[in-house]
C-alpha cells in the first residue's frame, strides 16, 4: 500500500487538493446562499417566501448527480464554457445550499418569536432584527446539523469524478484502473477524505460545547 501511495503521490495529492478546494468553495458559498434562502423563507412578504420555498424544494429533491450533469452539459451549451471542476462545484454548492437553507430555517423558527417582536418594537427593521438578534441565536441551535451538512458536502464532492473534476475520487478511479490494485487505492482515497472530514466533525463538536 505504501508503494502504491508513493508511486502515485502526485496524483493523490493533486486530487486531494482539488477536493479540498471544491469543498471549501462549496462550503463557503452554500452557507451564504443557504442562509439567504432560509431568511427568504421566513420574511413577512408571502411572494418572496414562495420563491425561497421553490428553490429549496427543487434543489433538495433532485439527485446531486443530475444537478451537476446539468451544469456540466447544459450550461456550456447555451451560456458559458465551464470545466468539470467549476460545474461540479456549482452543482455541489446549489445542492448543499438547499439543505443548509432548511437547517437554518429550522434554527430561525426555534428562536422564540418574542425576540423578533422585541427587536421590531424598538424600531429595528426586519433585517436588523435578523442580523443582531435572531440569526446569532439560530446558528447556535443549528451547529450540530450544520456540521453534518458540511461533512456530507465533502463526501458529496466525489461527484466531481463524474464530470472530470480531477478530484480525489477521479484520481482514485484513474489509479485503480492503471494499477489494478483497486482495494488499496480506494482505502487510500477513503483515508484522504477522512483527513478533511474528521477535523470538521471535531471542530463542530468543539464549537457546540463552547457555545452551549
Amino acid at each position: 500500500m505504501i508503494n502504491l501511495l508513493t508511486n502515485n503521490w502526485n496524483e493523490f495529492i493533486s486530487g486531494f487538493g482539488w477536493t479540498l478546494l471544491s469543498s471549501v468553495l462549496a462550503l463557503f458559498f452554500s452557507l451564504i446562499i443557504g442562509s439567504l434562502f432560509a431568511i427568504l423563507e421566513v420574511v413577512p412578504n408571502k411572494f418572496v417566501r414562495i420563491i425561497g420555498n421553490i428553490y429549496v424544494e427543487v434543489f433538495r429533491n433532485i439527485p446531486l448527480l443530475v444537478i451537476t450533469m446539468f451544469f456540466y452539459l447544459v450550461i456550456p451549451l447555451y451560456v458559458v464554457k465551464i470545466n468539470g471542476f467549476t460545474a461540479g462545484t456549482i452543482g455541489l454548492t446549489i445542492y448543499t445550499s438547499a439543505f443548509i437553507a432548511e437547517t437554518v430555517r429550522a434554527g430561525i423558527n426555534s428562536v422564540d418569536i418574542g425576540q423578533m417582536e422585541a427587536a421590531r418594537s424598538q424600531g429595528m427593521t426586519f433585517w436588523q432584527a435578523m442580523r443582531y438578534i435572531v440569526l446569532p441565536q439560530a446558528f447556535k441551535y443549528v451547529i450540530p446539523p450544520l456540521g453534518n451538512q458540511f461533512v456530507n458536502l465533502v463526501k458529496n464532492s466525489s461527484v466531481l469524478a463524474f464530470v472530470a473534476g480531477f478530484d480525489l475520487m477521479y484520481q482514485g478511479n484513474a489509479i485503480a484502473s492503471q494499477t489494478f490494485d483497486t482495494i488499496n487505492t480506494y482505502i487510500i482515497v477513503g483515508l484522504f477524505y477522512l483527513i478533511i472530514t474528521l477535523p470538521i466533525s471535531y471542530y463542530m463538536q468543539h464549537l457546540e460545547k463552547k457555545l452551549a
Partner: protein, 245 residues
Amino acid sequence: MSMIEFRNVQKYYGDFHALKDINLEIDKGETVVLIGPSGSGKSTLARTVNGLETIQDGQLIVNGHNIGEKSTNLNLIRKDVGMVFQHFNLYANKDVLENVMLAPRIVLKLNEDENKKRAMALLDQVGLADKAHNMPSQISGGQAQRVAIARSLAMKPRCMLFDEPTSALDPEMIDDVLNVIKYVTSQGDMTSLIVTHEMGFAQEVANRVIFMDQGQILEDEATDKFYNHPTNERARQFLSKIIKH
C-alpha cells in the same frame, strides 16, 4: 392633544372578531389601565398600537401617524413607542448592558460614549447597574423585567405599552417591577397604556380604567368612578370577583 386614537377599529384573526369597533382616545401624558378577563382582547389592543398586530378596518393614529396605512413607516412610530412584554423578551444573545444599548446604537445612531452613559444611568435607576455584564439567563424574572423597562426607556419613548408586565413573575418580584412602572408613568409627559390584573396598582397609577370583554370596550371611566360605581354590569361582576381575592 391625543397620543393614541382608535376610530372604529376592527381586528380579525381569520373568522374570529378579536377587536370589535374600538373607539378610544388617549391624551399625551395620560396613564390608562386596560383590564378584563383573559381572551377579551386587551393584549391584542395594546399590540395594535405599535403595529405588532395589524388592524383590518378603521383608523388608528399614534403620535400623528396613521398605523393602518400601508405607506406608514412603522419603524418611525416604534422609535417613540416603547413596549414591555409579559415574558420580558430580553435579547438572549446579549448581556444586560447590550440589551439596553443595542437599539439606541443601530436605530437612533447614538454615539457609543453617550449611549453607554445613558444605559448605565437607566440600569442604575431600575437598581440593576451591578448586573450590567450578566446574561439574561443569569438574572431573575423581576430583574429581567426591570432591564426590559430600562431597554425601552433607552429609546426615549413618548409612549409606553405594558402588556401584562407582572403576570409571569413570582409574587415577591412584582413590587419592584410595579415601583419602576409607577416611576415611569409619573414622568410628566409620558403616555402609558398598561394591560394588567393588578387592581390595586391600577387604582394607584391610572387616570382612567378601561374594561374590555369579548373584543369590546364596555367601560371607559376615570379611575375613582370606575372603582366605586362601574356602570356596566359585566364590569361590576368582574370587579367584585377580582377584589374578593
